[in-house]
């Protein structure tokens, strides 16, 4: 009996660091911001915060910038998923074939991943500069007139989607690559004997065998896409005309620049709930796919 009790205590001890970290950095802050969301907490007057009921929540739904930021992030998520995951799969297929110089390409495709997002953003600001940028230079060769990119409300978000996909695809390429290398050669050989061409082999062997990997990549891309903040913060400051304002950036700005922590907390609670709902839906879809496969 006694040893069992001690074992249990040791068990708790093992998980204690994890619990402490989760409590300190996740659970307690979440509960705190939940309670702040019902107050008029100003960062400069923490002692004077008063209970304001649901005012912050009601204001959130009347705030055009917050609503716009939700639209923007929806646009980002919808476009980044196929572009980034598609690019990752394409790159993985390219480097999966054994040919000379493969390692060089593998490293090149992965390289953006090891550069910090801030550096990537600054680098792309130069590339996307309408007057002297590299990209407009290249477009000029094909007689396409210079594009405004980040200075246009219509193009800015697409520019950010492109940059984000460029930065993120390399890492997912590696995961796809691992998935590809796990597909037994015998399957391809058998298909070849049956007369399947390369497109058919890709469609009926590669894709189905990559399903678990794809699901994992789709889920992680989906969740991280909701946290978009660094690229617009550096490249456009949420502009032009809030075209690239994202919920996380707006929450940060409201809380720490405008000092309205109460209001920012209400927005973060709402946004947290939105992300949880979408994640549950996404998991349901993913699991359903998994069951089919099994």
């Amino acid at each position: 009996m006694q040893t069992k009790g001690i074992k249990r205590q040791i068990g708790w001890l093992y998980v204690l660091p994890a619990i402490l970290i989760l409590l300190t950095f996740l659970i307690i802050p979440f509960l705190m911001s939940f309670s702040y969301s019902f107050t008029n907490y100003n960062i400069l007057t923490p002692w004077a915060k008063q209970y304001v009921g649901f005012t912050n929540y009601i204001n959130t739904f009347k705030d055009p910038v917050f609503l716009q930021s939700l639209k923007n992030i929806a646009q980002f998520v919808i476009f980044i998923m196929p572009i980034q995951v598609g690019a990752a799969l394409g790159l993985a297929l390219i480097v999966n074939k054994k040919r000379p110089g493969n390692t060089f390409f593998k490293i090149s495709f992965f390289a953006p991943q090891v550069v910090s997002l801030t550096v990537v953003s600054i680098l792309w600001m130069y590339i996307l500069n309408p007057d002297q940028g590299l990209l407009n230079g290249i477009l000029g060769i094909f007689h396409i007139k210079p594009q405004p990119f980040l200075t246009s409300p219509k193009q800015a978000m697409f520019a950010i989607i492109g940059v984000s996909a460029w930065q993120g695809a390399g890492y997912q390429m590696l995961i796809f690559l691992a998935g590809l290398q796990n597909i037994p050669d015998s399957l391809y050989e058998a298909a070849e004997l049956d007369g399947a061409n390369s497109w058919q082999r890709f469609l009926h062997i590669t894709l189905p065998m990559l399903k678990p990997t794809s699901m994992m990549i789709l889920t992680t891309t989906f969740i991280s896409a909701f946290n978009l903040v660094i690229q617009p913060m550096i490249m456009t400051q949420g502009g032009p005309q809030n075209a690239t304002m994202t919920p996380i950036y707006y929450i940060y700005r409201t809380g720490f620049t405008d000092r309205q922590l109460g209001y920012a907390s209400a927005m973060s609670v709402i946004y947290g709930i939105i992300i949880i709902i979408f994640t549950i839906i996404q998991r349901k879809i993913t699991n359903a796919g998994g069951d089919e496969n099994a």
Binding site: I6, Q9, I10, L13, L16, P17, L20, N42, I43, L44, T45, P46, Y126, N129, P130, D131, Q132, P148, L150, T151, P153, Q237, G239, P240, Q241, F256, T257, D258, R259
Partner: protein
């Protein structure tokens, strides 16, 4: 058994250490001690000069006060330092004296984070009126600015000559350009070099927008709010204010300036002019030795001919929780003295906040800095002192961005009417 006890003890010890690390070890409140936080690093010239000034205070004051400075370097836009101040507000561990940026005066005073320092500062008449205005909230002086800043129009002498602009046409403090003359010069430069004539930093949507472009508004006789800071509608969308934003839109529309300037366009001789601050003097001198350049004042509104330039910088203030007010006040007053201000402003190559220090600096600095000192004293205009300044300055920057997207927003007055309402939301009733 022993092992798990040891484990628990270890974890407890680590946790205790961690907590101790978070807590504030300011020491006991000995009334002779003054604590001070500053936003600069102790390795840069400004920090070093400040440390020397504080050492002098500790030696020279007759009451035996001992000041201790903590250097908390800020990140680009003030990040790290202000985060620390915000955290200290929560835990009630502010120092006795702290530095704060000009636009924060109203918010800090309104929130009672800092307290009036009128009675501790001596020889106030010698301090520039713009500095007094920047540090004053509801009639009381809350913060003392120890340096000034300004912006001018830097121009490339060689390019001007090439475009046929005569020396007699160069703008001076005595004979500034009107906006019409300014646009005419821009046109000639643009036609000659087939590039925008001036980089007005319109890609910068930070505080820089209000700081550098509000002088156009003030020159036209416009304003951002009424003097009391309670109304924006009728002020931000007034004819005068709108005329300044119309100028900005026209400059972009006519191709005289650009919303996406080339990096180092002025420094590398692509643009003939650049609107930027005093800090550029050193950069040009040290890194672009072959560039022949000069500085001109802001062009003035043809309707008023009123000369205006931007001002403002960081200041010293006393926290509301200062333990020994006299000691804290004495430190601020000492740091604001001629000797200290001269030392720190010379070290940092910034404009002085006292008239007497200007006289001391004039013979020691170069021609361009002399221009800036003069411009600052004769045409300087303080930024509005508003509690919700961060929101107001951002709305100003948004407005600039809106009018420069001229195809989408051709009607400047309409933009101003909308944005005035946005600013109105942020003003204290």
């Amino acid at each position: 058994m022993e092992k798990w006890k040891l484990g628990v003890a270890t974890v407890a010890a680590i946790a205790a250490l961690g907590l101790a690390g978070c807590s504030n070890n300011q020491g006991s409140s000995n009334s002779k001690n003054v604590t001070m936080w500053v936003h600069v690093s102790n390795t840069d010239p400004e920090g070093k000069a400040l440390q020397k000034n504080v050492n002098d205070f500790n030696k020279e004051n007759k009451h035996g006060y001992k000041a201790k400075v903590q250097f908390i370097p800020r990140s680009g836009s003030g990040g790290g330092y202000e985060d620390k101040v915000n955290a200290a507000l929560n835990s009630g561990s502010l120092p006795d004296v702290l530095t704060l940026d000009g636009p924060n005066t109203a918010a800090y005073a309104h929130s009672k984070i800092i307290q009036p320092i009128d009675k501790y500062i001596t020889n106030k008449k010698d301090i520039l009126p713009t500095i007094i205005k920047q540090g004053t909230y509801k009639g009381k002086l809350y913060a003392a600015g120890y340096s000034e800043s300004s912006i001018g129009i830097y121009y490339n002498k060689k390019m001007f000559k090439e475009a046929g602009i005569k020396d007699s046409e160069i703008a001076t403090l005595k004979h500034p350009w009107t906006w019409t003359q300014f646009k005419d010069i821009c046109k000639r430069l643009k036609n000659h070099f087939h590039e925008p004539a001036i980089n007005m930093n319109l890609n910068d949507h930070s505080e820089m927008a209000l700081y550098s472009l509000a002088p156009f508004v003030w020159s036209a006789g416009g304003s951002i709010t009424n003097p009391a800071g309670t109304k924006a509608v009728g002020y931000f969308n007034s004819k005068q204010t709108t005329s300044a934003f119309q100028l900005i839109q026209d400059m972009v529309k006519d191709g005289y300036t650009t919303i996406s300037p080339k990096d180092k366009g002025f420094e590398t001789g692509k643009y003939a002019m650049m609107m930027t601050g005093t800090w550029e003097v050193q950069t040009l001198q040290n890194q672009y030795k072959n560039l022949q350049w000069g500085v001109m004042p802001y062009p003035v509104s043809p309707a008023t001919h009123k000369q205006v330039s931007p001002t403002g910088s960081w200041q010293y203030a006393m926290s509301s929780t200062a333990k020994n007010k006299k000691a804290a006040g004495a430190l601020i007053n000492f740091l604001m003295s001629k000797k200290c201000m001269y030392r720190s402003d010379m070290a940092n190559t910034v404009l002085p906040a006292r008239k007497s220090v200007s006289k001391m600096m004039m013979p020691k600095v170069n021609e361009q800095m002399r221009f800036f000192i003069k411009q600052n004293q004769t045409t300087g205009h303080a930024r509005p002192v508003l509690v919700n300044y961060p929101q107001v300055t951002r709305t100003f920057a948004d407005t600039v961005q809106n009018v420069t997207l001229y195809k989408k927003n051709p009607n400047v007055q309409k933009v101003m009417n909308e944005q005035a309402k946005v600013i109105q939301k942020y003003l204290q009733k």
